[in-house]
Amino acid sequence: MTTAERVNPSSLPGFDDAIARFEPVMGMEVHVELGTATKMFCGCSTEFGGDPNSQVCPVCLGLPGSLPVVNGTAVESAICIGLALNCDIAEWCRFARKNYFYPDMPKNFQVSQYDEPIAFDGWLDVTVPGADATAEPDVYRIGIERAHMEEDTGKSLHVGGATGRIHGASHSLLDYNRSGIPLIEIVTKPIEVPPAVAPAVARAYVTELRELIKALAVSEARMELGQMRCDANVSLRPVGTTAFGTRTETKNVNSMRSVERAVTYEVRRQAAVLTEGGSIVQETRHWHEDTGETTAGRAKEEAEDYRYFPEPDLVPIAPSREWVEQLRTTLPEPPAARRARLQAEWGFTDLEMRDVVNAGAMPLIEATITAGADAAGAKKWWLGEISRTANERGTALEDAGITPADVARVEELVAAGSLNDKLARQVVEGVLAGEGAPDVVVEARGLAVVSDDSALGAAVDDAIAANPDVAEKIRGGNMGAVGAIIGSVMKATQGQADAKRARELIIERLGG
């Protein structure tokens, strides 16, 4: 980033000012790593986190003489994604070579699809909240241009430079474990929506696409692991005109929130340039999560000619119509329909459901309910204690260290009176800390509610004896004073007393 490209964000027009003069047109390109057991063109494992270059073979290292063979499961996943996006599935298509030199690409060409994608011409409906809390949410239909298959590249690690970028680095390390992992690239048609909601629509599209991919179980689509990567194209045109302006492509915008922020920033930046009489350079831009800015990358006019041609080492793919239709029958309930159904079943408000979805808690809550908990209880834990811990640790909810079955068990113990709220929180805390399943934590920490009458009765007797004045008030009919004795009992039992039973015992002794 040179200083000349630096823009002072505070000098940019506000978003509302920008869209008063310009309308954004967006295009989203999303790469999804498929969750197949093996790579796109060889038998190597796709497991994440192996030692560098431990999951490689002659094929994914592009050694001389090696040849690719298509992973059938990846083709199946691609077709399912295409169908779920309401696309046509090609009756015949080919892979193509995209030729360019880069050290993390072992063949110096990427096997991709060019003018013959496996899926094309579809759509996805996305929902954004209405103008105010009471308004109905708005639904926008996003056109899907194409979904195609390709192989991932390896990874470069530049050592010795200040920022991990190649500039200034003394040397680079290459890891080819990721080389050849199957990718699906999903490209939208131009997205033209009311300017005010454009950033929210971009975010909603990526969110909805991710839900869809997860529902199809073709990928975990975890953006923080790079399993789903988003490039956002943005151009502006003066309000009231129809021709598209020059676009920029902001690369690797890798969270839902960043998608919204990056689009907002580009709209403001481009509006500033255009307002000052400048013109937009067609280029790729880098997104900076920390500053919320984009900076210029490679200018497109110097972009390479990829010299695509059909990959001669592979035969065309011609999915039979019978196979496609058979796959269509295996598609899961669309995420939007599923959300609506679950919201109704659980009795959540729109706002509550939105929180659940945004937290990524829906499948966890569903599993918790299946395991026996009620909807409110399940929501309370996943959006409360567990969300907090996950946020603190920077992990996904499902990786926080507690299972839906654990949560259901805690709720079961509460319902049975074995735990009160305070103890239940301690149990969840223990499970999250890795101390074991709820019953193990209860046992180890000695957290069971004291409800057996002899132990609790003794504590009650002690409390009454220690507070004769209060006891007198209760005897005199002042039931409001019972709380003070309960408090004393709880203190003596370190909070483990069953408060309800303690009240009964106190009244038995003093009120009878």
């Binding site: 001389p64 040849l67 063979v69 030729n99 072992p106 680079s172």
Partner: protein, 513 residues
């Protein structure tokens, strides 16, 4: 002189296999005899045949000893068990270097075996070493090898053809009874013609390409080279067949090529319809080549074949189309040689970027012909030119395939000379790429269409006394027809030649090594 005068190295692969199987001779003796012959005639690189880039004497003798031990233990062995073979250096081998004739791969030892190499091992064939070739199989003379040319045993001042000149010369010099070649535009057939040996390009997809360092993926096909038709058939049946590691490999039974060779040797071609390709002959064809070709056609007729003339009008466009498709694929296939992971690395002194090191390495590592084709291909695939060049060439390819289809509706096989001329002197055409490219005029159509073709010896040209080849083309998956025709011709000529044509080759000087 006749092959039998050479002792063990003069025997055919079929004879050797029988002798080894019966215990008359051991595989170790056979292997040692061939290694001795290599020692005697192959070096030095400046004046010997120079068919081999690498000889693995220890490995070959160990493999032979293993065959002998298992035979002694009563184990059942393959039909070519213990027979030595010369492997073109474009096929990866985990126990020997593999260079593809290029400086850029000098010293590279692949971590894996090509499917062909694996099948040869499984069949107990003894691999003697790796043979010389034009760099990345680009050339028709072996002069494009980074390691110096191979010489033609018929005349050591002449080229043996290419790119598989090393494999063909090793046969003609009795250094090996069998060899593997690869054929992208004629690299098996043209050297066979120029050395008086047999070379077969199987149907595309008939032999796995896994481990064959690609020249042009859609054209490359490995196949057998031998001194006799039966030997070629035996080798063909060992290496052919479906391979799950090659997506373009054909999942169908291998045609019965050995049976076809044996039936053909009975000398009866009654009922066979032979088409003479009208477009291949006349201007640019050496008189002696045309004379021997006409003799061969007459011979086929005498054997009972019905001969007609067939026009394949698009064959004349095959050469220019080939020189667009091939460089296009080459430009992409050779991109991986970038100094990052294996092979040559030039200029990496810690001061240069990866891109500079890559450029220097490619500049130093590739020869002139490789660079020429990389540039041609890069240009042909460039946006704005793709349709006019690559796209148009693919249309010609379809038209050539249609010519074949139409012709094979009328005849069973097509014939032409294999090459327009006999072997030319070393150095004569190195500065004239177009003259060099014309060598493959007759052989290229079969690479574009993917059908099976072969070259069989059909005599010596009167003007220079050098071998001429008969080119036989058969439909896709009808490889067996080639063997029937080749074996019939071989048997018919045996009387007048006193055995194989190769018996008329001059004796090579053995060095006193």
């Amino acid at each position: 002189m006749s092959g039998t005068e050479h002792g063990l190295v003069g025997r055919t692969a079929a004879e050797l296999a029988t002798s080894i199987a019966s215990g008359e001779v051991s595989a170790v003796e056979v292997t040692q005899a061939h290694l001795d012959r290599v020692d005697a005639v192959d070096g030095p690189a400046e004046s010997g045949v120079h068919a081999f880039l690498h000889v693995d004497a220890d490995g070959a003798l160990a493999a032979a000893a293993d065959v002998d031990a298992r035979r002694a233990a009563g184990e059942r062995l393959g039909p070519l068990a213990g027979v030595p073979l010369a492997l073109k250096d474009v096929i990866t081998t985990s126990d020997m270097p593999t260079t593809a004739g290029s400086r850029i791969l000098d010293g590279w030892r692949p971590p894996y075996d090509a499917t062909i190499a694996r099948r040869l091992r499984e069949a107990d064939v003894v691999v003697l070493g790796k043979t010389n070739m034009d760099e990345f199989a680009m050339g028709s003379s072996t002069e494009n090898s980074a390691f110096g040319p191979t010489r033609n045993p018929w005349d050591m001042t002449r080229i043996p053809g290419g790119s598989g000149g090393g494999s063909a010369a090793s046969l003609a010099a009795y250094e090996a009874p069998l060899a593997i070649g690869t054929d992208t535009g004629g690299s098996i057939r043209q050297p066979a013609a120029l050395t008086g040996t047999v070379g077969v390009k199987p149907t595309y997809g008939g032999v796995s390409r896994y481990g064959l360092i690609a020249c042009a993926s859609s054209l490359d096909q490995a196949g057998p080279c031998a001194r006799t038709v039966l030997d070629a058939a035996l080798l063909h049946s060992v290496v052919a067949g479906h391979d799950a590691l090659d997506a373009t490999s054909i999942d169908q039974p291998v045609p019965d090529v050995v049976g076809a060779a044996r039936r053909g040797a009975e000398g009866d071609l009654t009922g066979l319809r032979v088409g003479v390709v009208k477009e291949f002959g006349g201007e640019g064809y050496q008189a002696g080549v045309e004379a021997r070709f006409n003799d061969a056609v007459a011979q086929l007729s005498k054997l009972g074949a019905e001969v007609v003339e067939v026009s394949c009008p698009n064959f004349v466009y095959a050469l220019p189309a080939y020189y667009l498709i091939l460089p296009s694929e080459v430009s992409s296939n050779l991109a991986r040689f970038d100094a990052m992971r294996y092979g040559l690395r030039v200029g990496d002194d810690g001061t240069r970027s990866a891109e500079e090191v890559m450029n220097r390495t490619r500049g130093a590592g590739f020869g002139a012909e490789a660079k020429r084709r990389i540039m041609l291909g890069t240009y042909a695939l460039s946006s704005g030119y793709y349709d006019a060049y690559y796209g148009q060439a693919q249309k010609v390819r379809t038209l050539v395939a249609r010519d074949f289809e139409a012709a094979f509706g009328r005849v069973d096989v097509l014939v032409s000379p294999t090459t327009p001329t006999t072997a030319f002197p070393i150095g004569e055409r190195v500065d004239d790429p177009l003259a060099m490219y014309r060598n493959d005029l007759c052989t290229i159509p079969s690479n574009l269409a993917g059908n099976a073709s072969a070259s069989f010896p059909c005599g010596l040209a009167d003007e220079d006394g050098l071998p001429v080849g008969l080119h036989v083309m058969a439909p896709v998956l009808a490889d067996d027809r080639l063997y029937r025709v080749g074996a019939a011709l071989e048997q018919a000529y045996a009387g007048s030649w006193g055995g194989l044509l190769l018996n008329q080759a001059p004796e090579l000087k053995e060095s006193a090594s």
